[in-house]
Subunit: 462 residues, 2 copies
Amino acid sequence: MTGRTRQKEIRLNAFHMNAPGHSWAGLWTHPKDRCANYTDLDFWIELARIAERGKLDGIFLADVSGVYDVYAGTPDAALAAGAQIPSNDPSVLISAMAAATRDLGFGVTASVGYEQPYYLARRFSTLDHLTKGRVGWNIVTGYLESAARAIGDGGVREHDQRYDRADEFLELAYRLWEGSWEDGAAVRDKAGRVFVRPEKVHRITHHGTFFDLDAIHLSEPSPQRTPLLYQAGTSGRGREFAARHAECVFMNQSRAAVAEAAADIRRRAAAYGRHPEDLLVFVGATVIVAPAEAEARDKYEEYRSHLDTRGALALLSGWTGIDFSQYGPDDPVRYVKSNGMQSKIEAMTLRSPDRVWRVRDLADFGEVGGRGPFIVGTPSQVADELLTWVEAGADGFNLTRVVEPANLTDIVDLLVPELQDRGVYKTEYSPGPLREKLFGPGRARLSPRHPGHAFRHPGPTA
Amino acid sequence: MTGRTRQKEIRLNAFHMNAPGHSWAGLWTHPKDRCANYTDLDFWIELARIAERGKLDGIFLADVSGVYDVYAGTPDAALAAGAQIPSNDPSVLISAMAAATRDLGFGVTASVGYEQPYYLARRFSTLDHLTKGRVGWNIVTGYLESAARAIGDGGVREHDQRYDRADEFLELAYRLWEGSWEDGAAVRDKAGRVFVRPEKVHRITHHGTFFDLDAIHLSEPSPQRTPLLYQAGTSGRGREFAARHAECVFMNQSRAAVAEAAADIRRRAAAYGRHPEDLLVFVGATVIVAPAEAEARDKYEEYRSHLDTRGALALLSGWTGIDFSQYGPDDPVRYVKSNGMQSKIEAMTLRSPDRVWRVRDLADFGEVGGRGPFIVGTPSQVADELLTWVEAGADGFNLTRVVEPANLTDIVDLLVPELQDRGVYKTEYSPGPLREKLFGPGRARLSPRHPGHAFRHPGPTA
């Protein structure tokens, strides 16, 4: 509207996993919850349609390629609770949801720890083609010992070495996505009987520390070429990686910690020639909304009664590497150093250093669970609270799965109109690929300021 | 019908690839062809709907993870013709087609050469869940040097060693699919708050020649557990592999060679305790059908005029390892020993040993191209011809992509009713998963006679 200062637009993703339980163990037991139907395409197609009706930016799918077996040294607690196990491959879910939607984005988690850049790059190019440019890649380096042990990899590599490998992986992926095929290579000239101009396709050769490559990229350029890049890293090395590669950074921390980390990552990004606005910060948030506050509190308590405490501790044990089965529910937790990838507990205990946290608090359904903001209230109360996080540096939120799709439906029906009324949320999707929807017209591809852009082939005139 | 001997039912798959060109280079240039839209989900969803309207058993997606660069030592001819390059990942296509169909099966090619059993098993379990049991795996060992070179694998492994690795891969996959989770492990008991009974989930440990594994399978059992297993191997070692593992064997050979190979593989299968009827033989076939013979011939000539000869030779060079750019179009080809995985040329030249074949014949659009039967005619003529192959031991046909989806539409509208009238083709799909549709009631899972079945966990009573 003219004459009014344009408000910053809040971004929302639905944060899910191809599993019965994700961040909150046990909620699948709620009578309304349908996440136990995760093996059924109808569940996902309905979820995607609800998300698109609410003009969400995307569905963001987490993944781990191991089990949570730190707790008591077995995966039993996680299995019984359905806590991230069983877990299915997220990448093969996407095309069905893409066919049922037009604008919704899809964030797909894939690890650089156990894949070859050559194959991963092709899979993401394929997804980007099939979705017409609506795919993001959530880059993870892997933190579960069980995932490394699964394929005889002899334990999770040292943290910094993991990131060295990740940097080399990304460089190869950029070369395949950006450097192998020039624009206009795939001419599809039926009359001239030429599908590809071979002189515009370039072989990538690389002999590095972790990978060898000698090939052309198998896929022609997709709408975004490089998928939109998500990353969640809050350690020093993780921040450096995010500053260099990420376009969207995912954080689960206190408001003050988000403000500090967001500013620090943006500052580090400048060293790579990037601008602060080239990075969007998404904060993990649990939102329970109802027309009246009492109703929202009731809903919260009802959901909470379905939490699986052992499952929650199994997740915490996996995130931190600490076997919480050794402690009683009332044992105090003064300070927990995370294993470097997951700062959940660290952030949580640092957040309120004066309070004595107990093991039972860590396993509870609430902000104490260490998963970023936990907001229960009316649409207006939730919006107020979210805006304080935007003040602190957040651009958007990954909305954690609760009781679904009921909870997402509440968000779409109640919170989204409130945010729209406040002028901080889109009423229509912007056209174009996911990156363009988030960063504006002309931004379908990596920014020229992004380090990956340097791997673009200069073309015949250069 | 009572009182009439039940005819053997002919099986049909549409044989495709996630690429503009598949077996016949250049046909994408035909005005009616829409395969250049392979990046578009609508193309695939329409194809799946046509196939299901024709009650086809499945869409079978080939894949190679390299380029055809034997011809003149570069991928240029293949690129210009769009001959299997660009090529996208087939696995991520499936869920969109599955959501648009109910009974159609999906054959997905994946190589045991460059993947980890742990991840491949999970991807196929996920696909089997999402399709409600309609997925098959076409097991390939890889034959393109370019695919091995791409990831620094130092050349394609020796043929027999490739199969040793494949055997070990399959054993691990069986253990994950069949042995890690007992039936009834995932109880989904909301009232009792138990998703999985941990005592029914078993860790798989393996330290072998090619792979290490120490993990539970990440996916709960899918409708078929092990996907329907396809394999194309006609060498001695390939036949042994097929006899042990395959439920559907795919052949591209002469009628006599199919008869011999089918009988031999069924004989070898008996040594593994399997029955001859536990294996179905699919023959690769190109079919062009029209109401009148002249019309079919005209259509054939019209399609043929769009063939790309250099692209065809690029494919042949990749299949055989022989650089056909060294020879003129009229040079004779007396006998070509294939590289052990692709017996196309070998079979073709052996088929008519008295004729002098020339290089131009090998690149032509016709049976001389060495891709199994090539049938042009009226519905009645095509049916007659197909039945001679059934007499020789074929159970069904993989119908090669020609000009699509026009050609598949002709097959569905003209050939399928003819086959139905003759009582050799289903008028309705059978219920249940793909394996049950093909092998009959109660056969959703691997047969107890299949070697993979031995890896089933015996359960608590054993």
